[in-house]
Symmetry: C2
Subunit: 436 residues, 2 copies
């Protein structure tokens, strides 16, 4: 027996759940995975540790500061901080073994040494899909993505959510037409529209030093409202003669047309010209998804189209489109907001409680139930009956089978529904048909 | 376009699969998980990074050398090297929130910076179950474990495997009775029985310096053969008067009796008195599992009973019993030995191939199929029909739906079975009933 006890604890910024919360979390992961597979995506699983030179090929910025990087022997290695860089490396490395368009999903943990704050995690699950073309990739793929988001969040139990869609080319072309070179500050101002309103944006654009004329045009642009078709019509009527703008507008119109065909109801998606998503990565369609009743949670599923996935690893041109769900943060937010509850989660369907000396009969019964695919546990330990029932209660196990002298002699089982309290003495066949 | 291209590669000792191999791997993971759940185990998911002082509380030995340990800021952290230490920490930390006996499963990656050699991995999946008692844990739990191993490997497609069972107390009591104090070398010699035979073991025991009399008794002991019941009878007839030995023998007899009741066929388990499993961790029943036709693969599922899970983190006495499947290594070995093949793996059931201009109809069809839960992909890209069929072939997608003018006009679909080559023009209802 050790006398030196180390306090059992985990690092700050890491999520660890109770088993009943974990059941709920895993159920969500399964639903996401099932949906990704339904749309023809193939699984890959890349190492969590990669060579630093590979992960940091792009280099710079926040990534480099937040990354968990270390040496072992002579090797400089690091933990992946997203699933996109490993995907790029994977596609470049295995290019000749893959069939394009390559549709892959990956669900796994990623690591970022962020500043410690509530709701931010240093280890979190990302659930990603991407469609990678070899040289080209049809715009209709961009219209399919929202239908995957829709199907997934419907299956997760959400009804009231909006997939916001935009096309970066519209923004880029528009600003090119206005002769504005540095988009960073302008886009940052526009991004705040929801929070600070049109006058707020106007103020901020002034402070950047934009010309009056341009500010007016930007105001006109961000004020565009209406149905999706109306927005597209309004954009056309701006009569902006810029190639990139026109390309973006055509793409957006096509995406808008096909989304409907892919079965996404009109109320679940919306063109939003202020969505920009980062600055250097996405090059066309962009997506963000919001729960209508909980806008403060922010986007729960984002992504977009990019021209070239793996510039740092190959000369092959690999355009793609993809999305990511950050499930750890989403799960935390949903729990905090009481939108989901882990109240009555049990994977185990039946607890068998044998009275003293009837354990053999219990083992037989468990073996029958398990052969039928029913998740079953026997309460093997020697303790009071009340404690055994309490065990089923605590773990939310919905059914209990009691086996005692009477049951064994009559070859029956006492079968109790734990939520209604109803208890019947029945044969195994009846139990099986009840449980199926 | 970047001119500096980093060679895309991963670190040595890490496994990365093609998508079709990954499908097979994931299927095995799913089967394992399903079986663990069938026996009433609850999921937990602990962080991959933990505090070094926690992971290394026990300290010493190989573990410390192999661990991936690093600092970020002032924090000394490390990657978990197994799932047992995190379980011990988890149970100690969350003791008051858990319901005992606590049956948990965990499937996740662990990290060991082992010397680089074929078939050894530095990142690998462990699939663990453990049953943890609060203070005590009935011996019948030890008899249930083999039924979980049996059910799991049956579902994985194996028939000819043997779960070897022993009880450490029998070994410990036996050697205590022989007044042999240092078991390490003796057990190591006995462990080689299969490879070097009785005379080989005898030689080795002599070289250690064991007395003739003891060597004779050990030979008598390891020569014990026969059915499980016969082995137990032979052990009784040794008439060893030692409390630990007798306790072990009683436990083994009980386990042997209950294993049968748990539905494990006689041919799939075998008492083997030479199984010892490590030296300081297990204290009672021990398990190893072998594929009869591939003994060189070694044990594919091992574990045992321990007196106290979490001595380093709590004063609570937490006896347990558990097993682990090291799936990464097992998968590698099975592939190498051609026991499993990833030939015809597809998660996607249908590829829809629209002729030019019929993409809309294809999108509609895909939406119908997906609503019915059928994994479906559309070949959206513009390319030759032959290439599209080739795509289905390469990805082993079993069915193809072709949509062209004729199909649209007659409101039918050309439905092709890719393995038989049979193609019929039928309505959607027929397709759906074919696919279900």
């Amino acid at each position: 027996m050790s006398e030196n006890i180390v306090k059992p604890s985990i690092l700050p910024g890491f999520m660890e759940l109770t088993p009943s919360d974990q059941i709920l979390f895993n159920r969500m992961l399964d639903i996401i995975r099932k949906n990704y597979e339904k749309f023809g995506f193939l699984p890959i699983d890349t190492p969590i540790i990669e060579k630093s030179e590979v992960l940091l090929a792009k280099g710079g910025g926040e990534t480099e500061k937040q990354i968990y990087r270390f040496e072992k022997g002579d090797t400089d290695m690091a933990l992946r901080f997203d699933l996109t860089v490993p995907l790029a490396r994977y596609v470049a490395q295995h290019f000749s073994e893959l069939t394009f368009p390559f549709r892959r999903y990956q669900i796994g943990k990623v690591y970022r040494g962020e500043r410690n704050q509530k709701g931010r995690f240093r280890e979190f699950y990302q659930c990603d899909i991407d469609i990678i073309g070899n040289g080209t990739l049809d715009i209709i793929n961009d219209a399919e993505i929202p239908s995957i988001i829709y199907s997934t969040f419907k299956d997760l139990g959400f009804d009231s959510f909006t997939i916001k869609i935009n096309n970066r080319k519209i923004l880029m072309g528009f600003f090119q037409w206005l002769n504005i070179d540095d988009l960073t500050l302008v886009l940052r101002a526009i991004d705040k529209l929801d929070k600070i309103g049109v006058t707020g944006v106007e103020k901020e654009l002034k402070s950047i030093g934009l010309e009056e004329e341009n500010i007016e045009k930007i105001k006109e642009f961000i004020k565009i409202k209406g149905s999706n078709v109306e927005i597209i019509e309004s954009l056309k009527m701006l009569e902006i003669r810029n190639e990139i703008f026109e390309e973006g507008l055509n793409e957006l119109a096509l995406v808008n047309k096909y989304i409907k065909l892919f079965g996404v109801p009109e109320e679940n998606y919306k063109i939003d010209l202020t969505i920009a998503r980062g600055l250097d990565y996405y090059t066309g369609t962009v997506y963000e998804t919001f729960l209508n009743d909980y806008p403060s949670i922010g986007s729960i599923c984002s992504g977009g189209r990019y021209d070239n996935l793996a510039t740092y690893y190959t000369k092959q041109k690999l355009p793609g489109v993809g999305i990511s769900i950050g499930l750890t943060r989403l799960f935390y937010q949903l729990m905090e907001a009481n939108i989901i509850k882990a109240m009555e989660n049990s994977l185990t369907k039946v607890l068998i409680i044998p009275m003293e000396n009837y354990i053999e009969k219990a083992v037989e019964a468990a073996t029958i139930l398990r052969k039928e695919g029913i998740n079953t546990q026997i309460y093997i330990e020697d303790s009071k009956v009340g404690k055994k029932f309490n065990y089923a209660d605590k773990l939310n196990i919905p059914y209990v089978i009691v086996i005692g002298q009477e049951e064994v002699e009559s070859n029956n089982y006492s079968f109790r529904n734990m939520s209604t309290g109803e208890q019947r003495i029945i044969v195994m066949e009846e139990i099986l048909s009840c449980l199926k």
